[in-house]
Symmetry: C2
Subunit: 313 residues, 2 copies
């Protein structure tokens, strides 16, 4: 048993059982991958993959049992290497952040700029993905830090920490009827066509909940994954976006109305894989992004057992 074999198995699953593709990713020849998988199977005495003729098509029962172990070992190997780099005092390294458009576009730029300045040698990798994929990237080790508002809690394998709270606001074109100074209500919003986030994105759930609780039906004309798109189409009606997405100087043609009293407060969370070894620059980045998350706070959460951390902060 060796790590190369384990990597081949892991990558075979990730790449949909296409060994040719696996070979490319692992920078080796395809027969080598075939051999590695076959030899591991021989050593274990069991087939891990289902074969249709000569083609791999899926995992066997044993395969599904065994895969978590394989991934554990490879993640630990990564941790080991990272611990080495850390103590060797190497200033180079990787910081891979998985996050949503909202965060990447509005919340992260300052922290990223500071980080780049302080750690120029660290390769910074910003993965902009849908919220529900953030957890997966963390669990697979492809990302070191995940930041999202949705779909981060309730993973045993993740440690989740509260970053900051925010509310939605309503953006309308200049001269819109809602700018008459009268108080903003759900009923008044519902009089207009609404443009906001797709479901699962950026607090969309809280928006639906508020209207549903009030028993008000809305005319949803367009949903999008990010505030920039939403703002582009605001002339079609009114837009509901995260407050941080409105910038008076940039969005000159638009006006914003605070809607913090209409929709539930959102909590953006940061997550890391439980038990991961984090380079000290990762701790620094986290603190830059969310100052209350000091190194010892994160370290303690990281070492904690599942269930011990608070759901909210």
């Amino acid at each position: 048993m060796n790590f190369q074999q384990l990597r081949a198995v892991r990558e075979a699953i990730r790449r949909g059982y296409n060994l040719t593709e696996v070979a490319k990713v692992l920078h080796t020849s395809q027969p080598a991958i075939s051999r590695q998988i076959r030899e591991l199977e021989e050593e274990l005495g069991v087939e891990l993959f289902v074969r249709a003729g000569k083609r791999l098509t899926g995992l066997t029962e044993v395969g599904t049992v065994v895969v978590p172990l394989v991934e554990n070992m490879l993640l630990d190997a990564d941790n080991l290497r990272r611990a080495g780099e850390e103590y060797a005092g190497r200033d180079s390294g990787r910081l891979s952040i998985a996050t949503t458009h909202s965060q990447a576009r509005y919340a992260l730029p300052d922290a990223v700029r500071d980080f780049r300045q302080r750690y120029p040698q660290v390769v910074l990798n910003l993965h902009q993905i849908p919220p529900h994929q953030v957890a997966e990237m963390l669990l697979s080790g492809e990302a070191d830090v995940g930041i999202a508002t949705e779909a981060l809690a309730s993973y045993e394998g993740l440690v989740t920490l509260p970053c900051y709270r925010w509310t939605h606001c309503v953006v309308v074109p200049q001269g819109h009827a809602l700018l008459d100074g009268a108080p903003l209500t759900l009923a008044r919003l519902a009089e207009h066509p609404i443009i906001t986030y797709g479901s699962g994105y950026t607090g969309r759930l809280h928006i639906d909940d508020a209207f549903a609780a009030a028993g008000i039906a809305i005319d949803l004309v367009l949903t999008a994954m990010d505030a920039d798109v939403i703002k582009t189409y605001v002339e079609l009606g009114l837009g509901i976006v995260a407050s941080i997405a409105y910038d008076p100087s940039r969005d000159r043609g638009l006006a914003a109305l605070d809607a913090g009293h209409l929709f539930a407060v959102n909590l953006t969370r940061l997550a890391v894989r439980r038990g991961a070894f984090l380079r000290s620059y990762v701790f620094d980045f986290i603190e830059t992004f969310a100052p209350p998350l000091k190194r010892d706070v994160v370290a303690q959460a990281l070492a904690s057992e599942p269930g011990t951390q608070p759901a909210e902060g």
Copy 2:
């Protein structure tokens, strides 16, 4: 990085940093071990071991950080192999039990006999060790199952399950003054020299507690680690042993008096390493030994997170 290197590191720590010894244990030459350790250190860019001249003397700070990762990987590798054996339907394998004298001598024989009959191909390894070492052997992977009355709870890395409850009894030579039929009390016991288990063994704590709570001082003339020794010396006074240790047909010269009402009930526990892959014959053995511990009960406990299991059962 490869597993041979990791094994060398683990064994170096276990063998007190004597690489010559490590080489013997791992069936290779001593220079090979030297190289493996050095190459791993080079790859990580950090020294894991403290060197006094050419001799290894301990772990560096990095070393202590890194060792848990190394052990994780090696334990997972064991799990992987075992999962393979299991699904390959091999009837051979290993069952390594770490337990105390009391259990090995009185509680386990029946279960062991049945097991041997049912799984003749499985090499059964019975480690008789002091209670406080049972947990260590489980955590290191040297033992698969631990059985003891003391010092098994409160390990995060172990899953502990209640097996059975038992009480102490008093053994005296035939014709002893205590055999007058009058009720047995702590005060009456204290009139005689007492022989019982050493501290930390077989419910000794409950014996001390009972006398201490009653404010009675006792004359402890001899302590031993096992009931056989205690019984041998009973003529020097009276012995307090586990009830299961008294066998009327074998211990003809002795009489036993139930002392269940004098000392707290003891709970013997069985433990396995959390997350370990257990062969099905291991589940069978556990159920044979403690019938309430059926396969699904154990499997569920095994997969549980720390803190979720009851302290007592």
